[in-house]
């Protein structure tokens, strides 16, 4: 199923938070350029998956393996995973008062460049790129000078996450319920931003509760996560099926080895 062409290979992953096992034998394989949607009921472990992959403190892996571009992801520090190209767009982005967005982003970009053995980006060059990114996500340029997420509305925070993604140019983007709390206009802006970033060397995991986002970001695969494992996989049409029928019928079904990709 997995092979050396995969960007991300998750094998039989078990993980817990505060001694409670949330991920229970999860398998997933993602190739470069693919967009995978992960749907599922509340409490299925959707956000946990994002945190486990990005190495958040307090989330412990009990078994299984994860490889990102051939590297053992689970052995890496949180910051090294980011530098290896993993990006998590947060569902509830936190504020960092007094640290300007621009300062924060430049430090992030520079840390990642340094890890690749590249020189720090010049301030002028970075400002130029950041202004373009602002425009793409429909945020006023003045947001670059404001404290990270400080006093931002819910929608602004989400667009700010997207702006960070545009500037960091990751290989694997995990969008954790990026659509939650967005009105339809904001949703479109976010979706357009994501679509503009789709390319042969960038993959996405789109975690969402609703099918609505997937009308705008067309996934290659849709997986249903229930009780810590993937219980059904299919193409984009599965999302519509779920929208119509809910999750209940799947939760009873046994897990099948229908994984694709």
């Amino acid at each position: 199923m997995s092979n050396t062409n995969s960007l991300l290979t998750i094998k039989d992953l078990y993980a817990s938070v505060e001694d409670k096992q949330i991920i229970k034998g999860l398998n997933l394989d993602i190739k470069p350029g693919e967009v995978h949607a992960i749907m599922g009921p509340n409490g299925a472990g959707k956000s946990t998956l994002g945190y486990v992959l990005s190495g958040r403190d307090g989330y412990s892996v009990d078994g299984g393996s994860v490889a990102l571009a051939g590297q053992d992801l689970l052995e890496m520090e949180t910051e090294d995973r980011a530098r290896a190209g993993l990006f998590l767009a947060f569902q509830y982005p936190v504020e960092i008062p007094g640290v300007s967005n621009l300062e924060f982003l430049k430090a992030s970009v520079d840390a990642q460049r340094e890890a690749r053995g590249e020189e720090a980006i010049t301030s002028a060059e970075f400002l130029k790129e950041a202004k373009i990114a602002c425009k793409q996500v429909d945020l006023p340029v003045s947001f670059l000078k404001r404290g990270v997420n400080e006093g931002f509305s819910g929608g602004e925070k989400k667009r700010n996450e997207l702006m960070q993604m545009l500037l960091l140019k990751p290989k694997l983007c995990i969008l954790d319920e990026t659509d939650s709390g967005l009105d339809i206009d904001a949703l479109q802006v976010v979706a357009e931003g994501v679509n503009s970033q789709r390319s042969a060397d960038r993959s996405f995991i789109v975690v969402t509760h609703y099918q609505r986002l997937l009308d705008y970001i067309k996934p290659d695969f849709v997986h249903v996560l229930s009780d810590g494992k993937i219980v059904k996989s299919g193409d984009a049409s599965l999302a519509h099926e779920l929208e119509a029928q809910g999750y209940a019928w799947l939760q009873k079904a046994p897990a099948e080895d229908e994984l694709e990709g």
């Binding site: 990005s54 190495g55 958040r56 403190d57 307090g58 520090e77 949180t78 910051e79 980011a82 530098r83 990006f87 998590l88 947060f90 982005p93 936190v94 960092i96 008062p97 007094g98 640290v99 300062e103 924060f104 982003l105 430090a107 992030s108 840390a111 990642q112 890890a115 404290g147 990270v148 960070q164 960091l168």
Partner: protein, 478 residues
């Protein structure tokens, strides 16, 4: 995470080296004879000696204060040496060429080159080493503008009228225990006079270095800004890493006459002691300024060092429409204890004061803000705004706030805001998820927390202060 923070905080003190300089040091002990000898070393006039002796007699009658939220062993004042000077300074070098190269190297190592060509343009430095001023740079250039910037020991000889008039006028001899001791035994420090209507053409700065073992440093600074003048002054301080505690008891007096403005910034990085609290400087300092009509005094301090700090830079807003400001960042880690804040005494009409205090506690340290805002009956229409923010790193440190507010004029307006926050796991995770290592993440979060204060520092030093915090925090992340 706490473990990471502790690791990041447990870092070597970069200024902890000892200079190999042959010194002439008094034997430990304090009596009238010692004071006569200090006065004699400085070749002081009789009035100065009398002033010292009267302060000493007052001091003997006083009790060491114990109200601060700090805990330290009783100081044995007889075990301290009250005078130490490099021998090479005895013949009073006339120029930089004659100064002991080892002394110059010491300052260079600390990042303060005293060769004028190498210095940051636009900053004059007075370098004080133990009990004497080693060199004061750019004096000729300042003299052209009529600005006097010299060691206070020299001012006592050359400008006795100014010194007599203002020394002790803001901090009286018996103001407090440590101030009285300083009056008796002060050895050197800086003297500044800015003439009427003059804007000082350069930043002035004094760099204090304690080198000799078992000595105390008792410096005295007096800054007089005559009517309509303006000056910005910065002090920096470091000391070698030693297992014994050393006492630093300074007095700083600022006089801002009508329409004058004094901006006084401090970057304090005395040796803080080791992780277990062994060694380090006891920093018991009295700083106070008086503002006459329309005058302004602004204190900015970045305090990262000392094992115990006891310090309240204050403003007496005597003249109508005068302004006092206090911007402070105090970082404590390891077993450091800081009790610091300010006093704003509003006497005149429409006087205004602003207090922004940022306390950062890490490790097992204790960080207290103690501030007094007093509106006297005459302070009609006076205003104060106070903001005290505390940031906790880890779960074994303490942050305390002791605000005292006394209003005796019903038209005065006093506002006080206070917050306490932690460097949160969420913030750390966000930073690391974007590729920042934990140390960079903490220093960025802390720098953001301090931004309002850093922007008050002169440009060059705002960068320095940011770096100093970064160094002090290194190893504090886990």
């Amino acid at each position: 995470m706490t473990e990471q923070i502790d690791k990041a905080l447990a870092r070597e003190y970069e200024a902890g080296f000892v200079s190999d300089v042959e010194s002439e040091t008094f034997l430990p002990g304090l009596d009238e004879d010692v004071i006569r000898r200090i006065s004699g070393m400085k070749n002081e006039p009789e009035w100065m000696l009398e002033w010292r002796l009267s302060a000493f007699r007052e001091w003997l009658e006083m009790e060491e204060p114990d109200w601060a939220h700090v805990d330290y062993p009783k100081i044995d004042f007889q075990s301290i040496s009250y005078y130490s000077a490099p021998k090479s300074m005895k013949d009073k070098p006339k120029s930089l060429d004659e100064v002991d190269p080892e002394l110059l190297r010491t300052y260079e190592k600390l990042g303060i080159p005293l060769i004028e060509q190498q210095m940051l343009a636009g900053i004059a430095v007075d370098a004080v080493f133990d009990s004497v001023s080693v060199v004061t740079t750019f004096r000729d250039k300042l003299e052209e503008a009529g600005v006097i910037f010299c060691p206070i020991s020299e001012a006592i000889q050359k400008y006795p009228e100014l010194v007599k008039k203002y020394l002790g006028s803001v901090v009286p001899k018996k103001d407090n225990y440590f101030a009285a001791l300083n009056c008796a035994v002060f050895t050197d420090g800086s003297f500044v006079y800015i003439p009427k209507g003059t804007r000082c053409p350069m930043e002035l700065s004094t760099y204090f270095r304690i080198n000799e073992q078992n000595t105390g440093q008792f410096e005295r600074t007096l800054i007089i800004a005559d009517e309509g003048s303006h000056v910005s002054y910065l002090e920096g301080c470091t000391a070698p890493q030693r297992d014994e505690n050393q006492l630093h008891a300074a007095v700083v007096e600022l006089v801002a006459l009508d329409d004058a403005e004094i901006k006084y910034s401090t970057v304090q990085n005395w040796y803080p002691g080791d992780e277990d609290g062994k060694g380090g400087i006891f920093n018991f300092v009295t700083k106070r300024g008086i503002c006459h009509t329309n005058a302004k005094i602004s204190w900015t301090q970045v305090e990262t060092g000392s094992s115990v700090t006891w310090k309240y830079p204050s403003c007496i807003l005597k003249g109508d429409n005068s302004v006092g400001e206090f911007y402070s960042v105090a970082l404590t880690r390891g077993r450091q204890q800081a009790d610091t804040g300010t006093k704003m005494i509003h006497l005149g009409k429409n006087t205004r004061s602003t207090i922004i205090s940022k306390g950062i506690s890490a490790g097992k340290s204790n960080n207290s803000y103690r501030g007094l805002v007093r509106m006297n009956p005459g302070a009609k229409g006076a205003r104060n705004f106070t903001q005290c923010d505390s940031l906790l790193i880890g779960d074994q440190c303490g942050a305390h706030t002791f605000p005292y507010i006394e209003s005796r004029n019903p038209s005065a307006i006093i506002e006080h805001e206070a917050t306490t926050s932690k460097v949160s796991d969420e913030q750390m995770f966000l930073c690391r998820q974007r590729g920042l290592d934990p140390e960079k993440a903490v220093s960025m979060i802390v720098n953001g927390f301090c931004k309002e204060v850093f922007k008050e520092l002169p440009m060059e030093f705002a960068v320095e202060a940011g770096k100093l915090l970064e160094i002090s925090l290194e190893g504090s992340v886990g």
